[in-house]
Amino acid sequence: MKQMEVEVVVIGAGPAGLSAACQARMAGAQVLVIDENNQPGGQLFKQIHKFFGSREHQAGVRGYEIGQKLLEKTIACGASVMLDSLVYGIQPDLTLGVIKKGENIALKAQKIIVATGAKENYLPFPGSTLPGVMGAGAAQTMINVNRVLPGKRAVMMGSGNVGLIVSYQLMQAGAEVAAIVEGAPCIGGYGVHAGKIRRAGVPFYLGYTVKRALGEQSVEGVEIIQVNERFQPIPGTEKLLKADTICLAVGLNPMNELLWQAGCHFDFIPAFGGHVPLHDSNMETTICGVYAAGDATGVEEASSAMEEGNLAGVAAAEALGYLSYEEAACKKAEIQHRLDTLRDGPFGQKRRAFKEQQLADMKAFDQGSFMGRMQA
């Protein structure tokens, strides 16, 4: 088996991973970024909309352009990027098992930054295995990366920002969106995103869920049904919508199998997508030398993922001796300030509170008083 040694290994070449790689490399560390996909950039390259945030977060710039710049910066600073490569295991002694195009590599790292992102939730219902039912993220990959229209008329389940943005992008790609269906009594995502959808004439069905998909060989329609405040269907309120595509935008959960495998301890925070690794303000997990950043530590959005990546990169470089305590503290304070501004306002405050809880639980863990959180 091929053996390799690297100072900093970053797993995942998305917004968090690339940001972490840049910070660590610019401080002087030797950095290798590994991604299972054939192109780096993670979700950024399917984000054709203009980002929110502050100007220092490149707000107003479209996601794929942010991705392109981040990628150029990563290459320019001299971090290596290894694509089509799957990390299948991390051991507590910081060795990684990697498969690159059939070749097995044993990689020894001094620091590992896990930035593996999140995966989409599924929603089971009669007919949910019919062709035409897909994750909203899959539909977005089809239209914006592969330039294939998944269908002509879609129903979107879920009114969070993913559901709203993908609905808009489906229309931009030339599809119709028959409706957005949401179980909660109000729209989950940003009002301005919802506004775009409404101006295009798309109705919202709030307090509704999907009862079943119609069709024999593929989706031909969807039956929706109203739900009460306990999300139980109300018989007699069914409605039929004609559609050939059903997109599910019903939340994401962190992809952190590698962190489980490494032996990290976990928290349970539903608002972050469920099980999330305990980590300190350096993004270091309970395994010394293993850091986590981005959606893998709790589902948020790309700008905060980049800032968490920045934090992890700085902290890893500091731990390797490439940054003095003062230099690192100064960089971390700036990053933390930007993170705090992103976790503000009615949409951000909850995330900030949960992040603080996650950090507090880590402190409790260090003091031996964290008993773990269980699913209610």
Binding site: V192, R198, R199
Partner: protein, 174 residues
């Protein structure tokens, strides 16, 4: 049916009236002016930086709602394409004796052409009147968003916010 941005995706009259970016009717008399329909405190501030006249202010707290300083707004419209939320239009209620003009962001293809008569839609996407396309502006500074300028009868100036998407021409052989 509950009103408001959380329930309909459309800001209610009360939400608009309370928003610091929504100009008071008094200032609408002066001609071209930005109308910012941003009523939720989301972390976002590109509009503030885009306005070189200092007519849009957010401040250090980026979740503050954008405030329009009507006296400073020239109606130049650079904010329209720079708003990631596509929540800004520029309205001129003195465009002509009978018509107002509305400049709005448009990110669908095909684009309309100057002189086209299109279906003008309200905030719910319902056709409310005909609109005449005055200009179709594309610029590098607009980061991919087209700004369409459209004339509508004066009485619709506060109702119309966009136009109906145009049909995609069928390709030959399909």
């Amino acid at each position: 049916m509950k009103e408001g941005i959380l329930f309909t995706g459309v800001p209610s009259p009360a939400e608009l009236a309370a928003s610091p970016g929504f100009p008071d009717p008094v200032f609408r008399e002066k001609g071209r002016i930005a109308v910012i329909e941003c009523v939720q405190e989301i972390p976002c501030n590109p509009c503030e930086g885009a306005c070189k006249w200092g007519a849009i202010q957010i401040g250090d707290h980026i979740t503050n709602l954008p405030a329009l300083i009507p006296e400073k707004c020239t109606g130049c419209g650079i904010c329209i394409a720079n708003c990631p939320g596509l929540a800004i239009t520029v309205i001129d209620n003195n465009f002509s004796e009978t018509e107002s003009s509305i400049d709005f962001p448009f990110e669908y293809l095909p684009l309309p052409k100057v002189g086209d008569v299109v279906e003008a839609v309200n905030r719910m996407g319902e056709s409310v009147c005909r609109g005449r396309i005055l200009a179709v502006k594309r610029s590098k500074a607009f980061v991919g968003t087209t700004v369409v300028s459209m004339a509508v009868p004066k009485e619709y100036q506060d109702i119309v916010r966009s136009m109906k998407r145009l049909p995609i021409p069928e390709k030959e052989g399909e």
